[in-house]
Symmetry: C2
């Protein structure tokens, strides 16, 4: 696998795209408009392995995709993708169904939590692809940093396809994760997405996002 | 403080009551019926510091109370207590709004999660008391065991009253907790209660409940 697509140009998308370039992959970062300001800033001096395009172009480009869009538009963007561009591909879904409409702390979109999850909803919409929920429970720097807080914090994966989870596991290890728990199918994404309310309040209490959860056992 | 009340006779109530006796407190364990089989079994050979009674008798007896009843009856039992019996008292609430009506894994009662919590609802119902949510995120043995998994797992507290949180902190330390994070007011119980879906799935994956979450930072 050489070519990866990153959908989303926020802090998460940028951090993931930079790390993938550092690891030697060819990367296309996709947005709604193909060349928004964040993409233009990102691609400066990045060399010939960095590309920008629309969401659909990034989906077509990547042999594996990172889904890094905001929760409130995640389903809509998924619906806009051409099915043949994602067919059979692993999509690592980092999105969370956070609703900031009432300020901080956010709550989770009621239709996408507890008895459902954004991960499940995206898997339904992108039924041709193999979704794996992961990385959604830490801040962007911790996602890819070689130095993780604590001895060895835990990362979870949830997904229906064993090969897609293997590919995800491989990338997580390259991102510095050593303790990875495979929770099971995509419905287990309910668990990790529902960690976000505690993550936000812990962040507010500590005053910084430089922490991760470890399953001590 | 010498006399404590424990409301609930399940695994959590029994474990907490035993630990409190071990720590030298006088304890009354309360149930709906004053002397159910679990209470009768529990009090055998416990000496003169152990007592059994109704929920309301245990509430009246204790200078501080542990609330260890099942989530689906927690609000109803709270409403049944005589307000003067709980007035001004700290209540450490270990309950979770788990709904097992559709089997494993449980979901959270929709009206008591995300934009509300069981902790908040109980504080509203027991408005004379000072509720502190804690201990609800680990299995009963880990709650009180001197030997905790990992280096020093994290326990959270949520509550509106500073003195009640100090009392809780004191007991948590006696239970072996060293890393305690005060998340803020009782609304932050949303965070710890919403950890339960991940707790259950982690338990199912590991095959045992002998783990705890550590905030690595």
């Amino acid at each position: 696998m050489k070519k990866l697509g990153v959908l989303g140009t926020g802090m998460v998308g940028t951090t993931i795209a930079n790390k993938l370039l550092e690891l030697g992959y060819e990367v296309m970062m996709g947005s709604r408009t193909a060349s928004n300001d964040k993409q233009k800033a990102w691609i400066l001096n990045k060399g010939d392995k960095a590309h920008i395009g629309t969401f659909d172009q990034a989906a077509a480009f990547g042999e594996l995709l990172f889904y890094c869009v905001k929760g409130d538009t995640a389903v809509q963007i998924a619906k806009s993708l051409t099915p043949s561009n994602i067919k059979g591909k692993t999509i690592i879904d980092i999105s969370n169904p956070l609703d900031f409409s009432k300020g901080m702390p956010p709550f989770l979109a009621p239709a996408l939590t507890n008895t459902n999850s954004l991960g499940e909803e995206l898997q339904k919409v992108m039924s041709e692809a193999h979704l794996v929920k992961s990385l959604n429970i830490v801040s962007s720097t911790i996602m890819v940093s070689e130095y993780k807080p604590g001895d060895s914090p835990t990362m979870f994966i949830s997904g229906n396809n064993a090969d897609a989870k293997q590919e995800t596991m491989h990338l997580l290890k390259a991102f510095g994760w050593k303790d990875i728990i495979d929770l099971g199918d995509i419905t287990t994404a309910r668990g990790t997405e529902m960690l976000l309310p505690l993550w936000v309040r812990t962040m507010q209490t500590l005053g910084h996002p430089n922490f991760a959860f470890t399953v001590s056992r």
